[in-house]
């Protein structure tokens, strides 16, 4: 089970740009490493991140093996209305992890 950490401000002025941080615990096994007996360690990575707010995907990222373990993203959002911000990670097998934060626009 992957643990997720979010940093989202509780409140924002209407129209203000806020900084969002989203981290998920994941090895991001690149597929280029070898084990102690020389065997190739198969690739196992998160390939997609999406952030939804106000009814639309506002930010997304495609990850490749060169994204470091426990991928962290810092990006921005323009606060338009109070509501949930949804975060979703998908790995190469289709497994998904979700989390949510609530932003109050004043």
């Amino acid at each position: 089970m992957a643990s997720i950490r979010l940093a989202v401000p509780d409140t924002a002025q209407r129209g203000e740009t806020v900084e969002i941080k989203a981290l998920i615990q994941h090895d991001m096994e690149s597929g280029f490493r070898r084990g102690s007996r020389g065997e190739a360690i198969p690739r196992d990575i998160i390939v997609r991140f999406e952030c939804r707010y106000d009814g639309a995907v506002v930010f997304a990222a495609d990850f490749h093996p060169a994204v470091a373990a426990n991928p962290i993203l810092t990006f921005h959002l323009r606060a338009t209305k109070s509501g949930p911000i949804d975060f979703e990670w998908t790995d190469q097998h289709g497994t998904q992890w979700q989390d949510q934060a609530v932003l109050e626009v004043i």
Binding site: F59, A60, P65, V67, P71, L73, L77
Partner: protein
């Protein structure tokens, strides 16, 4: 006797180490992405549209002691309005096993075209970011970082 044995072992280990070093240094260069791979990644992502230098700033530490995790920040000069915004930012490497590191998708809702993450780097290289605007124009910037411990090569 025991002294002798341990010194023999040390010599053996030394030779094994040297052999390993030769193996690493003779690994074909094709195992790493080259400029050609980076160009192909750019073609796959954006087609053969011209790329202009500027508007994109890549921030990396000048020296990265550990290539397994290097802080990267990319920003693009853009008002991020509904009429004029950054659609995509691709982070590319000329030296990693795969040229594409990450692709960020932005919208006018992003407010600011600035994204940070942590990446793996297999050696000293110039990381390049290419930004695609909503009008289809492409802009690029990059930064060279000295990597002392490379990811991928050493485990």
């Amino acid at each position: 006797m025991t002294m002798d044995r341990s010194s023999r072992l040390n010599r053996r280990q030394l030779l094994a180490g040297a052999g390993g070093a030769i193996l690493i240094s003779t690994t074909p260069l094709s195992a790493w992405a080259a400029q050609a791979d980076m160009d192909r990644a750019r073609l796959d992502l954006f087609g053969d549209r011209p790329v202009q230098e500027g508007r994109v700033t890549v921030k990396l530490p000048p020296i990265a002691e550990n290539g397994h995790s290097v802080a990267l920040s990319v920003s693009v000069e853009s008002p991020m309005s509904a009429e004029n915004y950054v659609k995509r930012i691709a982070i590319l490497s000329p030296r990693n096993p795969l040229a594409t590191i990450a692709v960020f998708h932005l919208t006018p809702h992003s407010g600011m075209a600035e994204v940070s993450t942590r990446i793996r780097m297999s050696g000293t290289q110039r990381i390049v970011a290419i930004a695609e605007m909503n009008d289809g124009s492409l802009w690029s910037g990059g930064m060279e970082t000295l990597v002392t411990l490379a990811a991928c090569v050493l485990q």
